[in-house]
Symmetry: C2
């Protein structure tokens, strides 16, 4: 963990311990510098980190404010990087339907910016939270970034594996979604009826150097999935 | 418009003009300093601004990358501040059902952090995009920030009015949502049937100094509303 990440964690704990609530003003940079005995630039980086996570909001010239705590059980879509970060304290289970090397369709090829018919990994899973169906997931991984995958790896968090073992640096992602009706084919996977509601969701992940490496299509269970976004103006 | 906002706009146009695509690396800060003849700190602020809007992604020590352009017709939930910013080039119509001064329920009182039984503004609208029902909206406004409202104002963008006339500085917001089935009461407002899908959505807006001033409950039409989030790791 880098120094600024440690300070970010300290400040987060400070917010908890001192019972700050949404809208409350925090001490300024100078004060945090004193409290933790670190440089101004470390405090600034730590605060940027907390701002990106939606924990604080900074106004130039006015101060630092605490934001609402994420409600329990809600998935933060803004900083989503796989569910293991989000579904804390609850049981997350991955049911692997398929892991295969395939040739991408034209659509997937375009998303992942593949040159020709390079093979990719296709992973199909059903994800459960506390034994309730949460979503179905169909993912395509660029093999130049995701060097290796198998069923055993897909039974846990793929992102944890990518970060810890393949040293992939996950940067940002684009999410597109809409509400829809479940098809005959999709409904049984979520233990629902065709025509019932769902969230139909597409996400394209990039590394920190702008390489798209994961294009996923998810279908969320309408009763079991709750979402949160810490938005800016 | 502030200087850094102008430079942000220039850089955005530069990205368009030079046909940069998602994942492409942009020139560095020094280069932009040269191109626009402004200070380093102005370029840095401009880039921060573009990063918050999901247009670029910056990696410490590695560079500045272009992100995917928002698809046409999708609402950016991360930087949502009323629909007039988002639904560009399409016809936005507000059908005002009610504007009233009411005493808040306990729930609304808690959201807006009101001390006692302070009266608030309640606004009920149906929003249309290109004459298609987009969503229903029920909003509660803190009167200490939203000093005045009436039907005429609610027939256009309330946020534009707040920013331009009441000089309200909108800071950040918390969004919570889930997919659900429409009730008997809701369905006709969206020209749908009870039991059909919808996105049920709550948003709490704060000023830049952390004062909650707008608590809104929206119900989106499942066929007409499309969403986008430029997410971070």
């Amino acid at each position: 963990m880098l120094k600024y990440e440690m300070i970010a964690q300290e400040i987060n704990e400070y917010i908890e311990k001192e019972h700050y609530e949404a809208g409350d003003k925090l001490p300024n940079v100078e004060k945090f510098k004193e409290i933790y005995g670190v440089s101004k630039s470390t405090v600034i980086k730590a605060l940027e980190n907390l701002e990106k996570k939606g924990i604080i909001f900074q106004t130039r010239g006015s101060g630092i404010y605490v934001r609402n705590k994420k409600k329990d059980g809600y998935v933060n879509l803004f900083s989503a990087s796989g569910f293991h970060d989000e579904i804390v304290g609850r049981q997350l289970t991955y049911e692997v339907k398929e892991v295969a090397e395939v040739t991408p369709s034209k659509h997937v090829q375009k998303q992942l910016k593949l040159e020709a018919d390079e093979p990719i990994y296709k992973v199909e899973r059903v994800i459960y939270v506390d034994n309730k169906t949460f979503c179905t997931e169909l993912s395509y991984f660029n093999k130049s970034v995701v060097l290796y995958l198998n069923e055993g790896i897909a039974e846990s968090s793929i992102f944890e594996y990518l970060e810890q073992h393949l040293k992939v640096k996950i940067g940002f992602s684009d999410i597109y979604f809409k509400v829809d009706k479940l098809t005959e084919n999709e409904a049984p996977k979520l233990s629902l009826q065709a025509g019932e509601p769902c969230l139909r969701y597409e996400q394209l992940f990039y590394t920190t150097t702008g390489v798209p490496f994961d294009y996923s299509q998810l279908v969320y269970h309408y009763e079991n999935a709750l979402f949160y976004i810490p938005a800016l103006k």
